[in-house]
């Protein structure tokens, strides 16, 4: 409804200003009281803006595609196999990796909040955190995938993993045809974030 949209925009404008003010006040209070080190805030933001993102997960995927032993380890004990590449810690302490095949397509959601494997994928995108994806991925996954331009045959079973606990899920997507002999580095370049959430497929031309 245009009515709704109008209201929503209007709402948003005024709200951000108010929110912005509150956050500033909160920050200065927390710093003044000595609860928070302002320099720590900058390091926290920089870490996720610059260092921890889906490139980490892409390296895990590329290694699994090129090293059968690593892949077997990854599917058996994801936390250890991922830690061996240096990706550990907060929101990825206990990892599970699920392999997509021609017959089974896995995808990940957190219907109750927005749990996401930070060490391998960084912080989640807005759509992953918003109501439409959280509401519909468990009940209408094929229609959700269609919104990401992914259409799978009815013979492919779709498994949706709802992250209700502290286990964090990452998908090992299918390696695209025509990439034989590519280096791990080349392969990592074509692995997308969405393919590791399960809402995308890896394309050779990506």
């Amino acid at each position: 409804m245009p009515h709704d949209r109008h209201h929503h925009d209007h709402d948003h404008g005024s709200e951000l200003t108010e929110t912005e003010l509150r956050v500033r006040t909160l920050e200065s209070l927390l710093v003044e009281k000595g609860y928070v080190d302002p320099a720590a805030l900058d390091v926290l933001v920089e870490t996720y803006e610059k260092n921890v993102g889906p490139r980490n997960g892409a390296r895990v995927v590329a290694k699994a595609w090129t090293d059968p032993d690593y892949k077997a380890w990854l599917l058996k004990d994801a936390s250890a196999a991922i830690a061996s590449l240096g990706y550990t810690g907060r929101q990825g302490e206990d990892m599970i990796v699920l392999e997509n095949t021609d017959n089974v397509h896995n995808m990940v959601v957190c219907t109750l909040c927005s749990c996401y494997p930070w060490p391998v994928l960084g912080l989640p995108p807005t759509w992953y955190k918003a109501a439409p994806y959280r509401a519909r991925s468990v009940s209408q996954p094929r229609s959700v995938l269609a919104e990401f331009d992914v259409t799978l045959p009815e013979s492919t079973e779709i498994r949706v993993w709802d992250s209700t606990a502290e286990t964090r899920y990452m998908i090992l997507p299918m390696r695209p045809d025509g990439t034989d002999g590519w280096s791990a580095e080349q392969l990592a370049d074509i692995v997308t974030r969405d393919s590791m959430i399960g809402t995308g497929l890896v394309e050779k031309s990506a």
Binding site: R90, T111, P132, V160, A165
Partner: protein
Amino acid sequence: MNGAHDLGGGHGHGPIAPDPNEPLFHAGWERKAFSLTLAMGFTGQWNIDQARFARESMAPGRYLETTYYEHWLHGLEVLLAERALVSEAEIQAAESIGETKPLPRILNAADVLPALQKGGSAKRDESTAGQPKFQPGAHVTARNINPPTHTRVPRYVRGRTGVIDRVHGVFVFPDTHSKTGDERPQWLYAVRFEGTELWGPDAEVGACVYVDLWDDYLDPA
């Protein structure tokens, strides 16, 4: 609690609208809401399940009309107020009025990376929980509980029957952890529910859902 956060199966929320050019943060205040929440989380004044409950407690309409980092900000304010660390009056006055509580642990800049890399697993030694009640292949029914307090069994699986897919190990139990801090570690399982069991004739073809559920959420089917 049966709050607006429990979104699984809902209709009417509109399209998903992924934005391929989205920045990690959309405004300066989002960076602050994120980093303040993490920094205060490291002080150990609350645990993650208490933080989730604080976010869920937002009025349902407001929760749905606001964004992720607004939920975080709400949660942070609730937790700070409950623990008498920052009061609403102080935020209104933009001034530290009350006493400042000494905190045993503060996150310094130098500690950020080690702290993030260490994380804090909710996994506990298996000896703390006895034998798992279920093995892979067992049929289980999710209990129909409706506590007004924090829980991680979504409404859409309550009373539904599935099959144990795998045993994850022993993990902190969110319900008691949120309510009193009691970890009550117990076995956690991935349970597979067929789409038709969850949604009846309206399920999509060949789709199923795996949900992580603890012993205290499950009965033998």
